[in-house]
Amino acid sequence: MKRLLIVGGVIVAVLAVAVYRAKLGAEETEGRIEGLEAQARKVSEEINVLKAEEAYLTRPERIGPIARERLGLAPAAPGQYTAPEALSNRLGEERLTLPPEAPPR
């Protein structure tokens, strides 16, 4: 009987240690997950900030003049449209023009 109690006690102790270790491991994992989630939240917030900055920097009133002055880009004017059949009539009419190169800084 006494031996049985001792064996039972040892088993209970071993199980208790196992449960404790499992719980500790779960807590560590939970901590890691929370850390990763916090990191993901932070990155997501940073992305949101960058998206807002991108939207701010690509405001038409800012990007329009830059596209016009540095790249020579503008919406197509009605006179620039033509039918494929009429292209031969317009060859040589327009030349691709690029803005002058910016002086080196």
Binding site: E53, T58, R59, P75, P78, T82, A83, E85, N89
Partner: protein
């Protein structure tokens, strides 16, 4: 039983009692410890959850996904008055780094030792937060919150609206779609096109350089679906700083204001009469003499070239009030009212989005009312409601409601037949004449076949209509040969620095510039000029000849 006949004493009894007591003590310690942990960490977690909920408010984007509104992390400054020794000194130091602080008021609030929590300022910038941090004052703390940001500034400011400091929608789309935005997740995608919206707003800004004006309203919408591509009220507002709005900028003139819009009603009168079978394109009218209706006399400010035999086309092209009233008299007030009701001008519009003001309708619909309404007086409507009435001219006769949210199924759009395709085509052709040969010449945009109508209406005042204050408007569809879009421009009390202040010189020219710039952004192919069309035809013929054996 033992040898003395007494029952055996339980040798494990005291041990068991100790064991149970030990377990109970352990449970007690665990419960107390957990309670202590929760009491210490609970509020911080709750605050974090609230901030997370605020930051979950969905973004608002335009139809192409361009960001219009988002929520970014921000910090707010709070204080515990019980932990502050010198409230006046704290308030003074804070006022040194935060511009909106009222020292007297803050001192009073920080001196109230009954309170545990006082907001000092919401939505601090990172620089402000750092400056407060460096003061090293006691009793202050920062709360993380989300702040609503509109990165494109004034763009669609009135339509987007804004939120309060707690992230709750209080105006515009932020209010109209509040429940959906609060749920977070996918952005709310509007039908607005940021590029087209910018064009419309920029043309209003430019107009202000040429005219002295009190306000403006503009709409561009897709006539086949009712999708609103641009909607602007001038002066614009910046939803990032709603408190800075001037009184003049506060109303959303395109949705919340009502105007008597004048002669842009005339195409509706003509369409109603054609639908009723009382007018054909060849009918002529004598508009040579002023028309007397009860106590009022209807005149034409600009006489027509052929006043004895003016057609409906002439009446629209040269904006004859007399001719329009004669058409309305043929139509009859009952049918006129029925038609205006069918195109949504006699009741509040129903749609998903910021709500439009209900119209101001005449209390009695007698002969005089019918006459004045036929050319746009005596019935005040919102510019948005009016813009919807031109969609049937462009789409072959169907009235539809405005749409502000993308993702709709075009096949499920509710349409109401209000005129035949033939009437829609005829009236559009008349409006095209108005631009090529009539009062709308300044609205012409090369290649985009603008078909529209000018409107100049005196504003009502306490002593009747005021000839010194008017509303000028231009409503159009384009391109006339295959209409796709409706444009409406309304100017409130526009006074050009030089020249006339009729719609022909104010709103028509703005509408023309808007169409010329917006059409390429809306993928409208310009109508090819005659030489190109001819080349296309000859090309097709050549191809056809080559295929013929």
């Amino acid at each position: 039983m033992n040898l003395h006949g007494r029952p055996n004493e339980d040798a494990w009894g005291p041990r068991r009692a100790k064991l149970v007591a030990g377990v109970l003590a352990l449970m007690f310690i665990v419960i107390v410890g957990r309670a202590g942990y929760v009491s210490v960490n609970g509020p911080a977690q709750a605050a974090e959850t609230a901030a997370a909920e605020l930051s979950r408010r969905a973004d608002i984007v335009d139809r192409k996904g361009e960001l219009l509104a988002t929520s970014l992390p921000a910090w707010s400054l709070a204080a515990d008055p019980r932990a502050i020794w010198d409230a006046a000194d704290t308030a003074r130091q804070l006022a040194g780094v935060l511009s909106d602080i009222n020292v007297k008021d803050l001192t009073k609030r920080l001196s109230d030792s009954e309170r545990h929590f006082v907001w000092i300022q919401r939505g601090l910038t990172p620089r402000q937060k750092q400056a407060v941090f460096e003061l090293g004052l006691e009793g202050l703390r920062f709360e993380e919150e989300a702040r609503r940001v509109y990165p494109r500034g004034q763009l669609a400011g009135h339509f987007l609206g804004f939120t309060d400091v707690d992230g709750k929608g209080v105006e515009g789309a932020e209010l109209a779609f509040d429940a959906r935005l609060k749920r977070g997740g996918e952005p709310v995608r509007l039908t607005i096109d940021a590029g087209v919206q910018f064009v419309l707003e920029e043309e209003f800004d430019k107009a202000f350089a040429d005219f002295d004006m009190k306000g403006g309203a503009g709409v561009i919408l897709d006539a086949s679906t009712g999708a609103v591509r641009a909607i602007a009220s001038w002066p614009a507002i910046d939803p990032n700083r709603p408190a800075d709005r001037t009184e003049l900028a506060k109303p959303n003139r395109v949705i919340g204001s009502l105007f008597e819009l004048g002669s842009i009603f005339k195409p509706l009168t003509v369409a109603a009469a054609m639908e009723a079978g009382v007018l054909t394109v060849n009918d002529t009218f004598d508009v040579s003499q002023p028309l007397r209706i009860g106590p009022a006399t209807v005149r034409d400010p600009h006489p027509l070239e052929n006043p004895l035999a003016a057609t409906a086309r002439d009446i629209l092209a040269f904006s004859s009030n007399i001719g329009t009233v004669e058409i309305a008299q043929r139509l009859g007030s009952g049918k006129q009212k029925e038609f205006l009701g069918s195109v949504g001008l006699l009741g509040r519009l129903t749609y998903e989005g910021p709500q439009s003001a209900a119209p101001l309708t005449p209390s009695e619909w007698d002969g005089l009312t019918s006459a004045t309404v036929s050319y746009g007086h005596g019935l005040a409507v919102s510019p948005l409601a009016f813009a919807m009435t031109y969609a049937p001219f462009a789409n072959g006769g169907d009235y539809l409601s405005p749409v502000f949210l993308e993702g709709f199924d075009p096949a499920k759009i509710e349409k109401r037949r209000v005129m035949s395709a033939s009437t829609a085509r005829s009236v559009t052709a008349m409006m095209r004449e108005t631009v090529t040969h009539g009062t709308g010449e300044n609205a012409e945009a090369q290649g985009y076949e603008v078909a529209g109508k000018t409107g100049t209406a005196e504003k009502p005042g306490p002593d009747g209509y005021d000839p010194d204050r008017n509303v000028t408007s231009f409503a159009a569809v384009f391109p006339a040969s295959r209409p796709q879009f409706v444009v409406l421009v309304v100017l409130d009390e526009a006074q050009p620095r030089t020249g006339e202040r009729t719609a022909a010189y104010t709103s028509a020219s703005i509408a023309g510039r808007v169409i010329a710039r917006a059409a390429p952004l809306l993928d409208v192919q310009p109508v090819l000029d005659a030489s190109i069309a001819e080349a296309r035809q000859s090309g097709l013929r050549a191809g056809s000849d080559a295929r013929t054996p």
